[in-house]
């Protein structure tokens, strides 16, 4: 666990893209299990699968710019006992090849590991076409699929090692630009678990991916406002850790969700579905509200689309007004 929320704001944090952590994790997974193999659709360096390729050239397949082939070749490799990690940009995989993933991986139950890099607004200057914001919704809808979004590069590395041991199809979304490293080697990670990164009692903030950092910063600001927020990091969006979330809500009674993705069908959607049935509570969902991104620096985009710590702080005040 990080010491407290104070870690996130008072220390100068290292910056590293989550895809770097994936690259390191995959190489380690390859060292641990000879059945780990990798395929890439002409984005070897961009998705950081290059580290694995250099270490294990005979276990790397260059697919070319062909995302439908990427995942179906993966399904075939899995049929032969391999543990294939297949990577591209999230806009193309799972953006372009969703039906192939549905039929040949999920329904066919082949444990292919799909890595979607350049997800979310941190894709920055590339603009709306490449800022994948619908991947969580797309993958959440698929039976048998696990959906993951690491909060930093260290967790991305742990997630990759966990994926290699998981018998189900998995999807992990990664960010292009460097984001703060807030966890340590000792921070626990297990697929299917949400973690309370910052204990509190007045309100719950549930975040995933790179937004967990913003949530922690917001919690510190809120503390100064006299509000003790509990921050839950949902690295696994599916299966959602309902126990941890409901337990927190029974204590706090109000919740803000934050994600760098469409709230419709995203983490916000998942939490709304859970709480609607299990623990109806005032809720504010932060993320992309049925809209596309655009070119810009990540900081500019987060400001424009209302996804900074400052915005989370305001959302918490709004949700607490609803609670009254």
């Amino acid at each position: 666990m990080p010491e407290t929320h104070i870690t996130a704001v008072t220390k100068k944090l290292n910056m590293e893209p989550t895809r770097k952590g994936f690259g390191r994790g995959l190489k380690k997974a390859g060292e641990l299990d000879k059945n780990v193999v990798a395929c890439c659709a002409d984005l070897t360096d961009s998705t950081q699968i290059s580290m694995f390729k250099e270490a294990f050239p005979d276990r790397f397949i260059e697919i070319g710019v062909a995302e439908q082939n990427l995942v179906t070749v993966g399904a075939g490799l899995a049929a032969m006992g391999k543990i294939p990690f297949v990577s591209s940009y999230a806009a193309f995989s799972p953006g372009r090849n969703w039906e192939q993933i549905r039929t040949t991986i999920c329904l066919n139950d082949r444990p292919v590991k799909i890595i979607g890099s350049h997800a979310g607004l941190y894709t920055g200057a590339d603009g709306a076409t490449h800022q994948m914001l619908e991947d969580i919704a797309l993958m959440r809808a698929l039976p048998n699929m696990v959906v993951l979004a690491p909060c930093d590069s260290i967790e991305a590395e742990k997630m990759t090692l966990a994926m290699a041991k998981d018998s189900r199809p998995n999807y992990m979304r990664l960010a292009r630009e460097a984001t703060p490293v807030l966890t340590t080697e000792e921070t626990p990670f297990e697929i299917g678990k949400a973690y309370v990164f910052d204990k509190g009692k007045d309100v719950t903030i549930i975040a995933t991916g790179t937004m967990t950092y913003q949530a922690l910063v917001a919690a510190e600001q809120l503390y100064k406002d006299g509000i003790d927020a509990e921050v839950i990091h949902c690295g696994t969006i599916k299966p959602l850790d309902g126990d941890t979330i409901v337990k927190s809500l029974k204590k706090t009674g109000a919740v803000v969700t934050v994600e760098e993705a469409q709230i419709n069908g995203g983490l916000g959607g998942a939490v709304a579905e859970l709480l609607g049935e299990e623990c109806p509570s005032p809720l504010v969902r932060m993320g992309m509200k049925d809209e596309f991104g655009e070119s810009g620096k990540p900081d500019e985009l987060l400001e424009h689309f209302g996804l900074t710590a400052k915005h989370i702080r305001l959302a918490v005040h709004t949700v607490l007004d609803k609670k009254k």
């Binding site: 005979d58 397949i61 062909a66 082939n69 399904a75 049929a79 006992g81 039929t103």
Partner: protein, 285 residues
């Protein structure tokens, strides 16, 4: 397996499979007729003369793999598997029914021996590529991956993505078989989306191509034997077939692509097939 059946015996098996196809489709009340009937000789050749397999041990680790990419033709595979001893022929009547292992489109998890789940077109060849690459990494030799594909299916871009990959990685243990029956749902392939020059297309993609009469069982067996002798290249067998083969009123008529026979039509079809069956049986005696 190979060479243990005479030509007449194989033809007799094929006619019985066609009778089963008609019976099961009529019972199901929905499904595709033309494709399965046209593919019957290819499936008879594969299961009774080509494949290294064991019906009593469908997961045998040294078996050859047969992928059916155009999953809508699966009645021919079910009927052939039943006749080969994978399961009882009586189960064929459960086709497309609730709780049946014989789903409308094939599902791997439902039926042992079904190597993959298919139906949405264009995905078989790329899974074959993955399997072939996996076999290479596992250092498994003398295992073959057969992929049966439709011709209409070749409209899918995914097929050509796989075609490039198989050639790049010299996946010579892949043997593709295209059911070239010239029809798809909306009409003749050459009017819906022209495929010719089909042989030249595959050759341009780096494949060795063999063209045969796909309704000649011996020709299918011979082509597979030849394909195995080709090194460094994957092989595509373009098998020219007659859609609806064996049932006079269905042959060459694209309307039968996605339709089952009704009770009356099934009677007429079975009468024709049983007459042929009697003829072949008398020749064998």
């Amino acid at each position: 397996m190979a060479d243990s059946y005479s030509t007449e015996e194989l033809e007799l098996i094929a006619v019985k499979i066609r009778e089963d196809i008609i019976t099961m489709l009529e019972e199901a009340g929905s499904g595709h007729s033309a494709g399965p009937l046209g593919l019957t000789d290819i499936f008879t050749a594969l299961y009774f003369g080509v494949l290294k397999h064991d019906p009593k041990n469908p997961d045998w680790e040294k078996r050859d793999i047969l992928l059916l990419s155009n999953g809508h033709t699966v009645p021919v595979r079910y009927a052939t598997m039943a006749n080969a001893g994978y399961f009882e022929r009586s189960e064929l009547k459960t086709l497309r029914k609730f709780k049946s292992r014989l789903q409308g489109h094939p599902e791997r998890l439902k039926l042992p021996g079904m190597e993959t789940t298919s139906g949405p077109l264009g995905c078989g060849l790329s899974q074959a590529c993955g399997m072939s690459l996996g076999m290479r990494m596992n250092d498994e030799h003398h295992r073959w991956v057969y992929v049966v594909m439709g011709d209409g299916e070749l409209n899918e871009g995914n097929v050509w993505e796989a075609a490039m990959l198989a050639s790049k990685y010299r996946l010579s243990n892949i043997i593709g078989i295209i059911d070239r029956n010239n029809i798809q749902i909306d009409g003749p392939t050459e009017s819906v989306m022209p495929l010719e020059d089909l042989k030249a297309k595959w050759e341009a993609f780096g494949w060795h191509v063999i063209e045969i009469d796909g309704n000649n069982i011996d020709a299918v067996i011979d082509a597979c034997a030849m394909a195995k002798a080709v090194v460094e290249k994957p092989v595509m067998i373009i098998a020219h077939t007659v859609p609806g083969k064996g049932v006079d009123f269905m042959e060459y008529d694209f309307h039968w692509h996605g339709m089952p026979p009704n009770e009356e039509q099934a009677k007429v079809a079975l009468k024709e097939l049983r007459t042929l069956q009697g003829k072949i049986e008398s020749e064998i005696d």
